[in-house]
């Protein structure tokens, strides 16, 4: 689906300063070399299995299914991976690639902190230096993850520019990469940014849909009727969708963060409220004003609090192959509490957006259908923030 210049339909591309062009070209060449290299793939597979704990479980949520009285609900348990989220899939791949390229230093952006923790983890494992950029606002919302990163040996730099959230962390990581390229790999955490990042990250996350497909064959002997995942930049979603794109009977549903609602300004639902633009290295959909100024978006979820969406999602939207639906803070918090109570699984507040929409969809689809929700991460990191949302002040 990628052409030679990293386009997904009209989306994608490489809108970056000239200073970085040879760096992304070098990365593309290295990736094209190693992606089919048996030794590289063996090494990565060993890391994924032995270190990250793959394959992740596809769990039949019996109580939730019975309670809702609709479609059979399966949960793809990316929350059970080492470091507690899907982010490790991509990071192990990129860190290994960076190491092969002779890089000794990883930099990363992080929103909720999960990608930062995963990058710090891989850096510790592989003996690399690590610097993580995180919006100052997010360092407060996700103080526990800041501590985890430091514990793992990473330097965390709070970003105070702009809205001090994920988009500003991405901007700052790009600025840092521009100033130090030769020993540094920018370990981008989502299917966004300039080519080849959307392709590399998607390929490393595609393990999710590959496993779902096999596991559904084993358990149900057929494909699911729908696959749901939350979408910020969109890495766990594209990973969950990728191997089903050709299976046109499988509905692919990305759940965006509507924040306080798509009719308010306090939203991060890009497909619902955004328009075509060029930002952070890519052409895609962005929340922006009439003059192209990027909007200060909002979501309770630090990981979905981003004004854009990856170019392949923009293309799947254009094609009508995937659906993108907004889910509000309130709906996500209710789903967060529901899954915790009903299945004893505390999902990340990001993943709870997908759980929320799945609860509606399960009833619509009815009992003879099946759906899969990717639980992209675990919710321990969110407990203090959700308690605060419910008016309860707990100290971590």
């Amino acid at each position: 689906m990628t052409n030679s210049r990293g386009r997904f339909g009209i989306h994608g591309g490489q809108y970056i300063p000239e200073t970085l062009m040879n760096a992304v070209i070098e990365l593309e060449e290295a990736y094209n070399h190693y992606k089919d290299d048996p030794d590289f793939n063996r090494e990565l597979q060993t890391l994924l299995n032995e270190y990250a704990g793959r394959p992740s479980r596809l769990y039949f949520a019996r109580k939730m299914t019975e309670d809702l009285g609709g479609a059979k609900i399966y949960l793809k348990r990316e929350d059970l991976n080492h470091t507690g989220a899907h982010k490790i899939n991509n990071v192990l791949g990129q860190a290994l690639l960076a190491k092969k390229m002779g890089k000794t230093r990883l930099i990363a952006e992080t929103g909720a902190g999960q990608h930062g923790v995963a990058t710090a983890t891989a850096a510790a494992l592989m003996g690399m230096e690590c610097v993580v950029f995180m919006g100052e606002e997010d360092t407060k919302r996700q103080a526990l993850n800041v501590y985890r990163m430091r514990l793992l040996g990473a330097t965390v730099i709070p970003v105070t520019t702009g809205t001090a959230t994920l988009k500003d962390a991405v901007s700052e990581a790009f600025r840092e990469w521009t100033s130090r390229i030769s020993d540094t790999h920018y370990c981008l955490g989502s299917v966004m940014g300039p080519h080849p990042f959307p392709t590399i990250v998607r390929d490393f996350q595609a393990v999710i849909s590959r496993e779902i497909k096999e596991q559904m064959q084993e358990k149900e002997g057929r494909l699911p009727d729908a696959v749901l995942a939350c979408v910020g930049g969109g890495s766990n979603a594209i990973g969950s969708f990728y191997h089903f794109i050709e299976d046109e009977n499988v509905r692919l549903i990305g759940c965006e963060a509507a924040g306080r609602g798509v009719s308010t300004k306090e939203t991060a639902a890009t497909i619902a409220t955004g328009s075509l633009g060029i930002f952070h290295g890519m052409k895609s959909y962005f929340c922006q004003d009439e003059y192209g100024q990027i909007a200060p978006v909002y979501s309770i979820s630090a990981g979905l609090d981003y004004p854009g969406i990856g170019p392949e999602h923009a293309y799947l939207h254009d094609l009508g192959r995937a659906e993108y639906v907004p889910v509000t803070d309130e709906e996500a918090v209710e789903a967060f509490e529901y899954l915790s109570r009903t299945e004893g699984i505390i999902p990340a507040i990001e993943s709870a957006h997908a759980v929320s929409y799945a609860m509606k969809l399960a009833k619509e689809l009815g009992p003879d259908k099946t759906l899969v929700i990717t639980i992209s991460g675990r919710g321990d990191k969110d407990c203090a923030a959700i308690a605060r949302y419910r008016g309860e002040d707990i100290s971590e």
Partner: protein, 259 residues
């Protein structure tokens, strides 16, 4: 000869960068007039963007102040139209791809040309992506300015061959901002440029002192200064025009005797 070429016929060119609307549009007008009166050969006018990823803290601050003050692309077109009544030196817009793309490249370039703009610098549009913009620029007599960086290496010749107006040589890795030293071998980059085009090239990023400007211009055709000027504007606000004028006179004087 395009008006931009004329900027390089008066010895080594001095090119100041100013963010439109910092601290307000009226002051920007007076700063530009002061710059032109004190020896600027070409002026880069920044259209502020919410997320200027190629800028260091100083110019980020200018973007924020301008947007907070209510500057918009349309208001800036009107401003340039007024400035053009008194200022004859070439002026180019410096902004980010999304500002132009969201306005519509064709519509943007038409208006830019109509108000007297001569070129466009888009730091997040490299050679490979210029097709989104170069047609609209050509149709409206705007030069789309190419940038060459210390990391460009094997790409310099390719970029130089398709360059128009002038070439913006990025002196250093990283983002815009004042630097105490510049270590890149500018002469080696210029040599490759010269082998491939007769389009003039000016060096920017990190220059603040007359000595640095002279050194960079000696090796090329001119010097571009942004952050050092923005700092003066930040310090003096509405009183900045005379201070910016004095600074520019001093910088241009340092280039005047170079050959």
């Amino acid at each position: 000869m395009s008006r931009i070429r004329e900027a390089f016929t008066n010895g080594k060119a001095f090119i100041p960068f100013i963010t439109c609307g910092d601290p307000d549009l009226e002051t920007t007008k007076r700063i530009v007039e002061a710059a032109a009166a004190n020896g600027a050969d070409l002026i880069e006018l920044g259209i502020p963007f919410s997320d200027p990823t190629a800028e260091g803290p100083v110019i980020q601050g200018a973007n924020l102040r301008a947007l907070t003050g209510g500057a918009t692309t349309d208001k800036i077109f009107d401003l340039v139209g007024q400035i053009r009544q008194n200022v004859t030196i070439p002026m180019v817009f410096m902004t980010y791809a999304n500002v132009v793309y969201s306005y519509g490249a064709e519509r943007f370039c038409q208006r830019a040309h109509a108000v007297g703009i001569d070129g466009l610098i888009l730091p997040d549009v490299p050679f490979e992506e210029k097709s989104d913009f170069d047609r609209a620029c050509q149709d409206n007599d705007l030069d789309l300015i190419s940038m060459i960086a210390p990391t460009s290496e094997n790409r310099i010749a390719m970029i130089a061959r398709e360059a128009s107006g002038f070439i913006y040589l990025v002196s250093s890795l990283g983002v815009t901002g004042v630097r105490s030293t510049i270590t890149t071998d500018i002469g080696a980059m210029v040599k490759i440029v010269r082998e491939n085009t007769d389009v003039p090239c000016a060096v920017g990023f990190g220059i603040s002192t007359p000595e640095q400007a002279a050194k960079m211009a000696q090796a090329s055709d001119g010097a571009i200064v942004g952050s050092a000027i923005i700092r003066i504007i930040e310090q003096y606000g509405k009183d900045a025009p005379e201070h910016v004028g004095a600074y520019i006179r001093q910088m241009k004087d340092a280039l005047r005797d170079l050959r």
